[in-house]
Each structure stands twice: as C-alpha cells, then as structure tokens.
Assembly symmetry: C2
Homo-oligomer: 204 residues x 2
DNA sequence: TGTACATCAGTGAACGCGCGTTCACTGATGTAC
DNA sequence: TGTACATCAGTGAACGCGCGTTCACTGATGTAC
C-alpha cells in the first residue's frame, strides 16, 4: 500500500490542491467565479497545467459537487445517534438546512442543474448510508422501528423519506435563493415545519 | 385611454415581441441559451436594437422572471375554489409542482439565484393574493376558517404557509434538478407527502 | 556510482469563440407651419 | 395640402473582455545499464 512513488504522491497532492482551490473559489465568489484561469492563478499555475490532472472544467466541477455531497452527509452524521428517534430525525433535518445556510454557493452548485446533482440514481432514490437521502431514510426507519411513526398503505418508508427530503430541501433552497436577503429569522419556522411533518407521521 | 400614438403602440408591441422571444428561448434552450444575440436573431433585429427597449440583459431577465411568477400564480388560481378546503389546498400545491414540471427551465431561472427570485420582500413574506405564496396562504386560511386545520401556539397561519411553501418548492425543485432524469413516477409520492402535511395540520 | 536516455509536469502563447454593450449612421415616421 | 425640420427606431461594425482548450516547448524527474 505504501508503494507510491514520489511522483505519484506529488501528483495526488497537487490534484488535491487544485480541488481545494476550486472549493474555496466557489465558497468565496460563487460558482460563476470559478474558471480555469482563476483556478490556475490561485495555485500559481498556468491554466494549461490543470489539464495534467483533469480532462476538463466539467470534471473539476463534478468533483466539487461530489465533495459537497460528502460534506452534507458529514453534517448529518454528526447528529448524536443516541437521541430519541424523533429528536434524531429532527436533528438531521436541521443539519441538512444548516449545511445549505453555511455553504450557500456550494449547495446551489450541487443542486443547480440536472447533471450536477450527483445523487441521481438509475431507477431508484439513492439509499446508501453515506448519502444525505440515505441518512434521512435511516432516521425515519428508526422512528418506525421505535413505533413513533405510523406506517400506512401507500405511505411507507420511501414515501416518508421522499416527503422529508423535499421538505428540508425546499427550506434549504428557498432560504438560499428567494429568501436569501429576507431579514426574517426563519429558524423557528423551520422547526415548526419539521414538527408538523412528524405530527403527520404520528397522526392516527 | 385610447390616446396612444401609433408609435407608442408599435413600441409596446415590439417590446412584447422581445419578451415573448426571450420566453421561448428560455423554454427551448434553457437560461444559458438566452443572449442578446440569439434574442435579436429570433425577432430579426440587430442586437443593438434591443437597447431601444431595455437597458440591459438583466432587465430582460427580470421581466422574464416576473412573467414566470405571474404564470405560476395563474396555474394555482385555476384550481376550483368550490372544492372542500382540504381538496383546494391539495390542488394548489399540486399546481405549483405542475408548473415546475411543465416549465422546468423557466422555473429554475425564477429561483436560481437570490436577485432573480422576484418575490423577495422587505421584511415579510409576500402576502399579496397574486403571488404563489399568497395563494397558498389563502388556501390554508380557508382550512382554518372551516375548522379543518388546528392552529397551535407558534404554528399559526404564516408558519403553516411557510411549511407548505417549502414542501411544494422542495418537490418542484428536486424533480427539476436532482431527480430530473430519474425514471420514477413520483406523482403518487407527491400526493402522499401533501397528505402527510395536511395530516400534521389536523393532528390533535 | 555515473552516464544516457525516456518520461513527465508545467509553461507561455495562441486559437477561436461568444458575450454585453457602444457608437456613428441612416432611413423612416411624425410634427409644425 | 405641402414642405422643412426634428425625432426616433433600427443597423452594422466594432470594442474589449474572459472563456475553455490546444500545442510546441523546456527543464526537471526518474529509469536502465
């Protein structure tokens, strides 16, 4: 495993430096600020040098999006899993929103166009435990197992997961676009909306 | 009122033709397909001619967004107001989603960046009866008046409205971005999610 | 260990493109007398 | 109604810019003997 040549190690390090620079440009100046020239400048390279590491700008953006999805999942995984099932679900929902609020441009890039939305699966929603949707699903599963949520005909685990995802995604998206400059403090409204969602899951 | 000169009438007609062309370019080729050149081409003008009618490309995009918000509201206003209060709310929620699915690029443009999101108010959510949010609010108000929904401390009309908006917006947005190429038929899931939302409003 | 050669990483300049906008202009439309 | 002038709508060409990408190159790194 340690048989990497110095050249390979250097290659990996430089590649990572490029991605780090791309990340910070997106965070500082937004997706529009990211060009092969600004990126090369940031690491004191010539633009052409980047093509030693990536085939195109698109490839770099795809990696930035993937990294975003990993970080989003990390936010959600930070939530104490020892909490009660409802508090846990509540917490991961808020984590999704918090990621968006703290990384608005990155979040927008991740979900701004069809091809960029890394999670897009073949014929089902992405269920793996390392994607935000998978984590959401797991949180709901815990609530079902604990008897906190009612399963109904036509409204099982995946329907609940979809409903939860759309809810938190809508909050995240609106607060980052339409409501970005609205001075309202919407945290309380987010909490209430999540509580209403869980009330629906509990209602008889 | 009819005292417009022929020149004025012509001006208004041309201005409208420019906006119509902009609309159809966005619908056909997406927001990226819209440039002053493609737009001028579409109506057999020189690019410079457009500046007789609009000060900048930004101004044109702003108008396209406004028109989008009007059309979105129109979708929602089409819902039979004679329906029961829950069916009515359900219907306008689905209308919001249907607008997005039928006009994905226009919808994305309307909500793709902070400044474009026409509805952004000064210090409150837009409540007028001609905005999508206002119509949603009105639908919920009907449910409250009819006694179908429970008002709770901290979860009154505007919290319910915000929760409803984020839910339908999340569905619309995800289906137009991350899930655009997913072959799943999500209509049933949308319905169930809306029903769950209303169950939350009804739960004791 | 030293030398000859092959591979590689990074450079600098350029290509070709499409963009928003400006500007001097012209022919047509409208106005005043 | 006819003529002289002013206003206006639209043109064609150009400005200056930033973009993604390519290419011939060079100096450095690694390999083979």
């Amino acid at each position: 495993m340690k048989k990497q040549s110095p050249r390979t190690r250097r290659h990996i390090r430089t590649r990572q430096a490029i991605l780090d620079a791309a990340l910070s440009i997106v965070h500082e100046d937004g997706p529009d600020g990211l060009s092969m020239r600004t990126l090369a400048d940031r690491i004191d390279y010539s633009p052409a040098g980047l093509y030693e590491y990536f085939g195109s700008k698109e490839e770099i953006i795809a990696e930035v999006c993937d990294e975003g999805h990993r970080r989003l999942a990390a936010y959600m995984l930070e939530v104490e899993s020892s909490l009660s099932s409802t508090d846990y679900l509540y917490g991961i929902g808020l984590a999704y929103i918090r990621f968006a609020l703290e990384n608005p441009d990155h979040f927008l890039l991740m979900f701004s166009s069809p091809q960029m939305a890394g999670d897009a699966p073949e014929d089902a929603l992405p269920q793996d435990s390392e994607s935000s949707y998978g984590i959401l699903l797991h949180g709901i599963e815990r609530g079902i197992d604990a008897g906190a949520f009612h399963v109904r005909p036509g409204f099982g685990l995946s329907e609940m997961g979809y409903a939860a995802w759309t809810l938190v995604h809508g909050m995240a998206m609106l607060r980052v676009t339409a409501l970005r400059d609205v001075p309202l403090d919407l945290d309380a409204a987010d909490h209430q909306a999540l509580l209403n969602f869980m009330r629906g899951l509990q209602a008889a």
